[in-house]
Amino acid sequence: MSGPLLDVRHLSTHYVSARGTRVTRAVDDVSLVLDVGGTLGIVGESGSGKTTLALTLLRLLPPAARIVSGEIFFEGADLMKKSDGEIRRIRGKRIAMILQDPMMSLNPLFTVGDQVAEPIRVHEGASRGSAWNRATELLKSVRIAAPETRVREYPHQLSGGMRQRIVGAIAISCEPRILIADEPTTSLDLTIQAQYLKLLRDLQRDHNLALIFITHNLGIVAKMCDQVAVMYAGRLVEAGPVRQIYNAPAHPYTQALLESIPRVGDNRKRLTAIDGQPPDPAAPPPGCAFHPRCPKVMDRCRSEAPPEFRVADAQTSRCWLSDPTTR
């Protein structure tokens, strides 16, 4: 197959309040591309629309959300044109997702084996016995000790790290092409975090998975990803190869984010923080949404939202400073 695995074009998802009076542009005109086996990090503060973007890709949104426009080409076909039944057969089988809170992601009333075997039975029509055997193998592949015992246990009998790996096992159970991981490590402590990230990378390599990694941690992106997309107030403000963007960030928001990472051996006494608060997504400021917090703000930023400029090969930025006609 030629072309990228996933090609998202001008995707917008809005939340509409019950009376239709308040519209929140959670995802606003987002375009991105993911190659087979590639790793894309989506970075942004809480409320910047990262999770909504991920759920939009699977068309699994809360009732108040509407996908207003855009196309989602997955393996060449537009997911927006699929029926509910077709999209359901893609969920969990072709595109899998790991949720933010792994501790709460498992149903307390069913055994681990039942929950890991479930997608195999539903998507592949496997018998109870063969799905159960597959579940045991999957537990082994996510490095759970004594999988034959664990498979019969209930979630509350397992540690947080183990539960997280089981959620991982569920995600890869049907050999998906894309795995979306939504802040999968925030609830784990640091050593377990590192182990889990390594596991995800190994799974990616072994199964030739494309990985979308949603996080607010730029350090994790540097370790895990080859592409990065920075979100602010529902928009992608900067996107491109990780190394390129970390070396030469074009957007002031990305620059500020990178500056706020604490580094070992740093002599500054205080951490650098970005001034101000992220905007209310229901009432973003006019012009560029970042302008009230931007250290390089210009008059034009207050009235006119910048379009996407190509800064370098494969690097884009939504900032007037990146406008080639004024640079």
Binding site: R89, I90, R91, G92, K93, S105, L106, N107, P108, F110
Partner: protein, 306 residues
């Protein structure tokens, strides 16, 4: 776990003791049973004789202590009116009450759980609004009034069902519905809110992310979790039904313990009322413990806590 059960039992005994004092005193406020037991126009001496026969001439606290010591020996006393052992009287009425409560419970669950689930799945849509109206009617229409309306409609106008008595399934239908009506509304509301909680949970989200059909998400992942609080309440409600059926049993002349309590109050039959109320209290205490055990059966988190 054992220590917990012992502590719970201790607390239960204290509340039963308080209940016995309350019902003992309240009954004695209602008036003098001797007046109702004697022939009309009986002399003051006759009344005194009756009071003496039942020990009602003794000071209150002696009467209470005697009641309590007999109680500890399992003796609830003799009915003033029926002149038989109160506990035997109670036991003879209990099967009818249990039958009525079970039928009413079955009705309330068969109506309440499905409508609650539909209301939660179709939240804020037509079904949900319909359910809200039903719940409001259920909670605001008293059971005796529902009973009387049904008698008017099904017995008087249509002649389909007997208006009172017991013996056949047909006799059971109207009392069960009028007693279960309120509980159907209660069970529907709880099912709805519990289901809504569960539908918003992470594991339901994950079930959808797995690509499971929505019917399976609801019937497997959501339903069983949502049922836990409903079953708890239903267990308690079954016992409450036995004990609040007084009005319904009276309207339909159903020979249960509710009717016995009503008769006991009407005839100032102190031992009957004391026994009925106390035994009701014991039942509620026991059912609370049973529900805790049932909980552990459904939910492995409790089962394995040891």
């Amino acid at each position: 776990m054992k220590k917990y059960i012992v502590k719970r039992l201790g607390l239960a005994l204290i509340s039963l003791l308080l209940l016995s004092i309350t019902i003992f005193l309240l009954m004695r406020i209602t008036g003098d049973p001797a007046v109702l037991l004697a022939e009309p126009g009986a002399s003051a001496a006759d009344l005194d004789a009756i009071r003496q026969q039942f020990g009602l001439d003794r000071p209150l606290w002696t009467q209470y202590v005697s009641f309590l010591t007999h109680l500890l020996r399992g003796d609830f006393g003799q009915s003033f009116y029926y002149r038989t052992d109160v506990f035997e009287l109670y036991l003879s009425r209990l099967p009818a009450s249990l039958l009525l409560a079970s039928a009413a419970m079955a009705f309330s669950l068969l109506v309440g759980i499905p409508t609650g689930i539909i209301a939660a799945v179709r939240v804020n849509q037509w079904w949900d609004s319909g359910g809200k109206i039903f719940a409001l009617l259920g909670l605001s229409m008293p059971s005796f009034w529902v009973g009387l309306l049904m008698i008017l409609f099904f017995s008087v106008y249509l002649g389909w069902l007997p208006s009172s008595g017991s013996g056949t399934v047909f006799h059971l239908v109207m009392p069960a519905i009028s007693l279960g009506w309120l509980f159907a509304a209660v069970h529907m509301r709880l099912t709805r809110s519990s289901m809504l909680d569960v539908l918003g949970s992470e594991y339901v989200k994950l079930a959808r992310l797995k690509g499971l059909p929505e019917a399976l998400v609801i019937s497997k992942h959501a339903f069983k979790n949502a049922l836990i609080p409903v079953l708890t309440l239903a267990g308690i409600n079954l016992v409450i039904m036995v004990n609040v059926a007084v009005v319904v049993e009276t309207v339909f002349a159903w020979p249960g313990v509710g009717r016995l309590l009503y008769e006991g109050i009407a005839f100032r039959d102190f031992p009957v009322v004391q026994a009925t109320v106390l035994l009701g209290g014991v039942m509620i205490v026991v059912v609370n413990l049973l529900v805790d055990i049932l909980y552990a059966v459904i939910d492995p988190r409790i089962r394995y806590e040891g």
